[in-house]
């Protein structure tokens, strides 16, 4: 029997759907992961790339500045060596300082005609001023000669004290122009003391990167100079940078910012670390649009790759499902067959159990039903036997009938006991029972039996051998075996009883002479009768009952041997705890 076809197909389809769903989840996860990693990578690449550009730009800028600084430092050394400069400073003739320096610094100032080369232009200053011994600006007598500055801007050239080393600063003039300031100390050639400082203002060098659409500017002391950005963008950028600079001690960092509706990456780096001038930062704004476009392109590529993978996965999963479902189909069929078999077996088992129970109940009922009439019959026969007005041969017949009735009672008792055991109603009240005593009692009874043949009894039993069991049933086992031994003996034969303790068991062997039990006969079978005709009568349940009882006690009975005029049974019963003395 198997499931109907449509149901089986449904199961396979379900399996396929599940397989496909799992594949889809895996592909979707991989695609998402790929997209995420690509995005991160592109972002990191962009950042690193721009950072490199920024650094290299700054580095080239610094090189040019070094050139400028070196040239300026040389000039200052020359200046410091000038007797007139010394004279002006030392002899308190500051009004003569600028005229004295004028000739010396003439070529430092921008010339009227355009410079022939760019580097030369970078070396031209917009203005210069001297600082006095307290760092204040010495007013020039004629500002036109030294580069004009509005008074407020001029004030910003002052320093707290004369610098010992070169100081870099930036000046954002009111007009919006920005100047790079270099303050160089002037040392006395005689004493080595710093007697003054020269502050020179240059046009700041500009970063020249044209590839990335970068915009650069300078942030000085809360003000941003980045004229290529719109006013609002400048304001928001200025706020961001002011916060960044004020918040952390970092001299260099970068962040993302939305400027003029597009994402930008902003780098900033302190231009004048540890300067006496106010802090100034180089600001570079790189548009991220090209990188975003590249990212979008990459995202499309990965997404379409994912889609292709999914499509491929769909077909692959379809194929795999068909492949895999074949054994599954077979498995389903097999399992159906198995289930049917199992169900059949279970049904049979149940019916057997029911039948068994019924038969057990039946035999119990039957035994009970039989017992009463037999008792009536026996009582009747006994009362008849008690009369004395019958012919003697009547007594003999009555006596034979009574004998048969007694036997019937025994059979019924045995059957009742067996049926109770079969139904599982018999419970053993386990106690310590002296086996030797029981054997002795039954040997006494045996010799008293009227029709017993002349047999010799050999007994090898310890005086006290205790088993765990109920005395009634233990006694019944011994009785059955002894009766058999007597019953199937030959005249002039013998019965041998031996018992010993073996570990947790007690072993009792009962052997008798007489015809052997033919090979292949199961003497323990219920209602067993020997195939060979015998003079001896038996109802065929004694051995069976004895074995069932022994097993109920946790022991057993087996036929040890039956040949050459000798049959021997062995009874094993559990020894009573601690009560059994060593044999």
């Amino acid at each position: 029997m198997s499931l109907p076809g449509p149901m089986r197909n449904k199961g396979v389809a379900g399996f396929r759907v599940r397989l496909f769903a799992v594949m889809m989840v895996i592909v979707a996860t991989l695609t998402t992961l790929g997209l995420y990693l690509a995005q991160r990578r592109v972002a990191a690449d962009a950042e690193r790339n721009l950072q490199q550009i920024f650094q290299s730009e700054l580095a080239s800028l610094h090189k040019l500045e070094e050139l400028r600084h070196a040239a300026l430092a040389d000039r200052c050394d020359v200046l410091a060596a000038k007797p007139r400069i010394h004279a002006a400073i030392e002899d308190d003739a500051l009004d003569l300082l600028y005229p004295s320096a004028k000739d010396e610094l003439r070529d430092l100032m921008e010339s009227e005609e355009p410079p022939p080369e760019r580097p030369a232009q970078w070396l031209h200053a917009r203005f210069y001023r001297f600082l006095d011994s307290r760092g204040r600006v010495i007013q020039p007598p004629n500002p036109r000669d030294v580069g004009e500055l509005d008074p407020k801007s001029e004030e910003q050239l002052a320093l707290r004290s004369l610098p010992e080393t070169r100081q870099i600063g930036y000046l954002l003039e009111n007009g919006g122009a920005i100047d790079e300031l270099i303050a160089v100390p002037i040392f006395s050639t005689e004493t080595g003391d710093i007697i003054s400082a020269l502050v020179v203002g240059f046009k700041p060098l500009e970063l020249a990167d044209k590839r990335t659409g970068m915009k650069s500017g300078i942030w000085v002391n809360g003000r941003l100079h980045l004229p290529s950005l719109s006013q609002s963008a400048q304001a928001s950028l200025n706020k961001r940078i002011s916060n960044a600079v004020a918040g952390g001690e970092r001299e260099e960092n970068n962040f993302r910012l939305q400027l003029e509706g597009a994402p930008h990456l902003v780098f900033y780096k302190r231009l004048n670390p540890q300067s006496l001038f106010p802090p100034a930062y180089e600001i570079c704004v790189y548009p991220l649009a090209p990188w975003t476009a590249q990212l979008r392109r990459l995202q499309w590529q990965i997404a379409s790759a994912g889609a292709l993978l999914l499509l491929g996965g769909f077909f692959a999963s379809h194929l795999a499902a068909v492949r895999l479902s074949a054994p599954v189909k077979k498995l389903a069929l097999d399992s159906e067959e198995n289930r049917e078999k199992r169900e059949r077996a279970e049904a049979a088992l149940a019916s057997t159990a029911r039948e068994l129970e019924r038969s057990a109940r039946y035999s119990a009922d039957a035994s009970h039903q039989l017992k009463s009439p037999v008792t009536v019959l026996r009582v009747g026969l006994e009362s008849l036997l008690a009369r004395d007005d019958f012919q003697p041969e009547v007594y003999e017949q009555l006596s034979a009938l009574l004998q048969q009735t007694r036997r019937l009672t025994g059979v019924i008792d045995d059957l009742l006991l067996l049926s109770r055991m079969d139904a599982g109603h018999l419970k053993i009240e386990s106690a310590s029972v002296n086996l030797s005593e029981i054997v002795d009692e039954w040997l006494d009874d045996l010799s008293a039996l009227p029709d017993s043949p002349e047999v010799a009894i050999e007994k090898q039993l310890p005086p006290a051998l205790f088993v765990a069991g109920e005395k009634r049933y233990t006694s019944l086992i011994i009785q059955n075996l002894l009766e058999n031994a007597r019953k199937y003996n030959r005249p002039g034969g013998r019965i041998r009883l031996r018992a010993r303790a073996a570990g947790s068991e007690v072993v009792l062997c009962i052997g008798n002479t007489g015809r052997a039990i033919p090979c292949g006969e199961n003497v323990f079978e219920r209602f067993h009768h020997s195939a060979t005709p015998s003079a001896v009568s038996g109802h065929g349940i004694g051995l069976n009952l004895a074995r069932e009882l022994a097993r109920l006690h946790g022991g057993d009975i087996r036929l040890v041997c039956s040949e050459n005029d000798w049959t021997e049974f062995e009874v094993r019963l559990p020894a009573a705890n601690g009560a059994a003395p060593a044999a």
Partner: protein
């Protein structure tokens, strides 16, 4: 240098010998002599912490007061020899004309940015005639420099009085032919240090004054 020393000694002692009469003499406690490096031996004027002084230390002792200026004063000279001013320190009375002859085989450009006298003689060679000269018409200390030789320094101490004398390197001085009366005797030690003592001078007496 010895020659130069004897020259200015004779110049400063000359009026004393002629006038004689009232004399003040004594000793100025000079600052310890810094033994200068060998290379700088010829530098007569040194700057230490913005203070100019002679090396070895010398002082100018003079009688402060208002004295009538004579109609003509002798012309003095500060020569440039071996890239140095000789004498390194020259005290003169206000109105004195000082010539600056160049005795080296090179150009010199003597100038001063000092408030007492600003001048610039420009570059000139030894054969420059007339010898470039400057009249010092304001009292005060004038620092002489050469625009070409940055190490060259000279001092001219322009005084209101005709009564002055230079000490020797031990600080001893002698002023002769002084007028009687109450005056202040001053000792110029360096550009930032001038000591003074009131003196009562009597005719033809010799007064001993020490500047500790």
């Amino acid at each position: 240098m010895r020659r130069a020393g004897s020259l200015w000694t004779s110049i400063s002692l000359l009026p004393g010998v002629l006038l004689a009469g009232t004399v003040v003499e004594g000793r100025v406690e000079l600052p310890p002599s810094h033994s200068p490096p060998v290379q700088a031996k010829r530098y007569e004027i040194v700057t230490r912490g913005g203070v100019l002084s002679t090396q070895p230390p010398l002082a100018v002792v003079y009688l402060d007061g208002n004295f009538p200026r004579p109609a003509s004063l002798p012309v003095k000279q500060v020569v440039q020899k071996n890239l140095a001013f000789i004498p390194a320190l020259l005290p003169v009375q206000v109105g004195t004309k000082v010539e600056f002859p160049n005795l080296d085989d090179t150009y010199h450009n003597i100038f001063s940015y000092s408030p007492a006298k600003r001048f610039d003689l420009g570059r000139y060679r030894p054969d420059e005639r007339p010898v470039p000269a400057v009249v010092f018409d304001k009292p005060g200390l004038v620092t002489l420099r050469c625009d070409i030789h940055e190490h060259m320094r000279g001092l001219i101490l322009v005084l209101n009085t005709p009564y002055f004398a230079m000490t020797d390197t031990a600080g001893r001085f002698r002023l002769e032919g002084l007028p009687a009366g109450r005056y202040t005797l001053k000792a110029w030690i360096d550009s930032k240090t001038t000591r003074e003592k009131p003196v009562q001078l009597r005719s033809n007496q010799t007064l001993h004054v020490d500047f500790p």
